[in-house]
């Protein structure tokens, strides 16, 4: 193989100390198959962290090359060039340009889409001029060939001066060759793809000297991106800016000239490499499909049908595994209570298991939701949605690209807010971040599900339209309307910093890669269970203690009072027991706190028990169900039923069911609007680098929640 002979010619030059695992960075254009390649190389052996100082997901994984040789693979955000346009892309240069950093990769694998080679090579030539050892992974050769484009790999390799490996990131073809290459010690190419104009040496020279750089092109990038390099000190930036002004350095013109020069060079080198065998006469399949999927009428119709199906599915398909989990947990609890007793058993069953059950039960719905979103992204359909919605979104101060965060917000606001990084424009991005938490996230599903099941009949229209599913979709719609009208408000309030633009590649339609979808579901569900689980178990335990003990001898007094009342009313033994536990709960620490906030929430239709749930929900809203089930389990030793039955059996002072439609809807509306998620506040703080945004969200959303819940309660009662 040519690759190996080439490698042999190179002098062995240790790329990394033997002790430390070598680092390989994956870099490439968006849609070039980078993530699939990453999944192929690392499998389940990956973890998600953060790049130093920023919150962009840093996916790293370990790839086993040989029995005793491993490398660490870093998946970098997709980018079209080393001149970043978005925050996401900026991560790449901050990783590559910091010569003192230990995160610098020893080798980069550049993924390139063979059917779009010219544009994909732009990034490669920039990397090559930085003299970083590189390999070109030529992906989608089959797609290119189907389009009549033949690529001479041998010739390309000679032109580029680095190994070129044809791969198929979907099937895994070429992985073995790639692993062999990674195990060798490679040197940067000797080819030069862009000659820095002589006039610029007055800038490049001093920069190289000051920062101790060896590479001219790297020094040129320091000049272009002085402000974008996080690792530079303020004094260095001032020095750079002075130098640039002194030398009359016109960044825009120079960049444009460089890009043109690079494309000219790429065109030349591709002359002998690419052979177009048949003219591309017939329309591409993707473009024909687009005529339907982005059609004036059908386009929107199909989009809303898909959304509708997703909600129906999340509600009705997921109910089967959910019922199983619910009954399983209830069964486990009664099994434990039948065989053991004591305060610790109560803590375990009424506190921990009841609370944890509240998390586990929602795995089916969350997994389904993430699966749908992953499929929409994978197929390339999400880009079409962005395209169709741009005009409408712009009217509300958003951007077509805001659709992705808004739709992902339906799963979870935290990754959704992070995905807003692809929006280049500051104002568009801030508005998107601000309104995304108003979209109903999966943590609200528990609240909605339980309350809808309680007050909305489970009837079907036309055989398949489920009334509960329709109500659920209505709640999501309300959240979406709240989001876009809040955006409109902000559009007026905020001043623009720069122009907004929408220049975006339209990816070709593809079958989703099920491995990628599967990994996403696994990853997200795991994070949900671990992250939410931690909070919920902790809150459940604290809550159980607060609800089971009261100050001084209040419990004894409560019991005496209950026994007196029971005797006077001539209650049965069972009824007496219930009265005792209910009065005891009222006099517990939790009861006292709930009682003290009751006046504030009474206008919304809530009592002190819901008050406790509201307070604990401010950590995370999914705690609601856990809290409710803990509160209503206290003392109910005889019959530990499912959460729905617990709430249904709750009576008001007249003996009627406590959860009337008015109360239930008011609660749902409250949870829809309220900012009850510490993780979201934390991520907004990190993404906006200020406390102003998260605090504004907290006040705005909670205020809105109170007002809307009040209105809802008044309308329905």
């Amino acid at each position: 193989m040519a690759v190996t002979t080439q490698a042999k010619e190179r002098q062995a030059n240790p790329v990394a100390p033997k002790v430390q695992m070598a680092k390989v960075a994956l870099i490439g254009n968006p849609n070039s198959g980078k993530t699939s390649l990453f999944n192929q190389l690392t499998g389940l052996n990956q973890k998600v962290g953060n790049f130093p100082g920023v919150t962009v997901d840093k996916k790293t994984g370990v790839c086993q090359l040989a029995a005793r040789q491993k490398v660490q693979i870093i998946d970098l955000p997709g980018t079209y060039s080393l001149y970043p346009k978005s925050l996401d892309e900026r991560v790449v240069i901050n990783l590559l340009y910091d010569v003192s950093s230990t995160h610098q990769p020893d080798l980069v694998i550049v993924t390139a889409d063979a059917s779009n080679l010219k544009r994909n090579l732009l990034l490669f030539t920039q990397l090559a001029d930085l003299q970083i050892p590189a390999v070109l992974a030529l992906n989608m050769v089959d797609v290119a060939e189907a389009e009549g484009v033949k690529i001479d790999v041998q010739a390309l390799q000679e032109q580029l001066g680095v190994p070129v490996i044809p791969v198929n990131a979907r099937t895994g073809t070429g992985m073995a060759a790639l692993k062999i290459i990674m195990s060798q010690q490679l040197q940067p190419t000797q080819e030069n793809f862009y000659t820095i104009p002589d006039a610029l040496h007055a800038v490049v020279g001093p920069i190289k000297e000051r920062f101790g750089l060896r590479n001219d092109y790297l020094a040129l990038h320091y000049a272009h991106q002085a402000r974008g390099l996080k690792f530079l000190k303020e004094a260095d930036i001032t020095w750079l800016e002075q130098l640039l002004e002194q030398e009359a350095f016109h960044s825009n013109t120079l960049q444009a000239n460089e890009t043109i020069a690079r494309y000219t060079r790429i065109n030349e080198l591709l002359l002998d490499v690419v052979r177009v065998e048949k003219a591309d006469k017939d329309e591409k399949f993707s473009n024909r499909l687009d005529q339907i999927l982005t059609h004036k009428v059908f386009g929107y119709l199909i989009f809303f049908t898909i959304l509708f199906l997703v909600f129906q599915a999340v509600f009705s398909w997921a109910s089967y595994p959910m019922d199983l989990i619910d009954e399983g947990i209830a069964g486990l609890n009664s099994l434990i209570q039948e065989n053991f007793s004591g305060p610790l058993v109560n803590l375990l069953t009424e506190g921990v298991i009841a609370g944890l059950g509240g998390v586990l039960i929602f795995i089916p719905q969350i997994a389904l939701l993430f699966a749908f979103i992953a499929v929409l992204e994978e197929t390339g359909y999400m880009a079409r949605v962005t395209f169709m919605m741009d005009r409408i979104m712009r009217k509300f101060g958003l951007n077509g690209k805001s659709v992705v965060p808004l739709i992902s917000g339906v799963a979870c606001a935290v990754p959704a807010i992070m995905s807003a990084r692809t929006i280049e424009n500051w104002k568009d991005r801030m508005i998107t971040i601000f309104v995304t938490p108003l979209m109903s996230c999966s943590a609200r599903i528990p609240v909605y599900t339980v309350l809808i099941a309680l007050v909305v009949p489970d009837t079907y229209y036309l055989g398949f339209l489920n009334l509960q599913g329709i109500v659920l979709m209505g709640l999501y719609l309300l959240g979406f309307l709240a989001a876009i009208f809040s955006a409109l408000l902000l559009k007026v309030l905020l001043k623009a910093r720069e122009r907004s633009y929408f220049i975006m590649e339209f990816p070709v339609y593809k079958m989703p890669r099920w491995k990628n979808v599967g990994l996403t579901i696994f990853e997200k569900s795991k994070t949900f269970v671990l992250e939410a689980g931690k909070v919920i178990v902790a809150v459940s335990i604290v809550l159980w203690v607060l609800a089971s003990y009261g100050p001084g001898n209040s419990f004894e007094t409560a019991e005496e009072r209950a026994l007196e009342q029971a005797e006077a009313a001539n209650l049965s033994e069972q009824e007496t027991e219930n009265l005792v536990s209910s009065l005891q709960l009222e006099s517990s620490y939790a009861g006292i706190v709930g009682r003290s906030i009751e006046p504030a929430i009474r206008p919304l239709g809530y009592d002190w028990k819901i008050g406790i749930a509201l307070l604990t929900s401010f950590a995370a809203r999914e705690v609601f169900v856990g809290t409710m089930s803990t509160i209503y389990s206290i003392g109910e030793e005889e019959n530990v039923s499912t959460i729905k039955n617990k709430l249904m059996s709750e009576k008001d002072e007249n003996g009627d069911p406590f959860f009337t439609p008015a109360r239930a809807f008011s609660l749902m509306v409250f949870y829809l609007f309220a900012m009850q998620c510490i993780s979201t506040l934390a991520i907004v703080r990190r993404e906006t680098k200020s406390w102003t945004w998260p605090m504004a969200q907290l006040v705005y959303m909670s205020g809105l929640a109170y007002v809307m819940a009040f209105i809802t309660y008044q309308i329905f009662s």
Partner: protein, 83 residues
């Protein structure tokens, strides 16, 4: 002066293309937008075809270098075409 503004009005841009119609790029008249467009392969001399319009007429998709690129009408207007 008058001649120049006349010429500017007469200058065709990607915005003026009809669906299915092609043209050849002669230049980019917005320096800031040009950087992004150049990176995406909209170079002078390249042929460009208007592929489709969004349901509300804006944005549009164009085919350049055998791939599909979407952009807004305002952005399309900065891509000048040869007469």
């Amino acid at each position: 002066m008058a001649q120049q503004s006349n010429k500017k009005q007469a200058q065709r841009t990607v915005r003026d293309l009809k669906i299915g119609e092609s043209g050849e790029i002669s230049g980019l008249n917005d320096p800031e937008m040009a950087l992004k467009l150049l990176e995406m392969g909209c170079l002078p001399g390249t042929s460009v075809k208007l592929n489709s319009k969004a349901p509300l007429g804006d944005p549009i998709t164009i085919i350049v270098n055998d791939y599909t690129l979407s952009l807004r009408l305002d952005e399309a207007e900065t891509i000048l075409l040869k007469d």
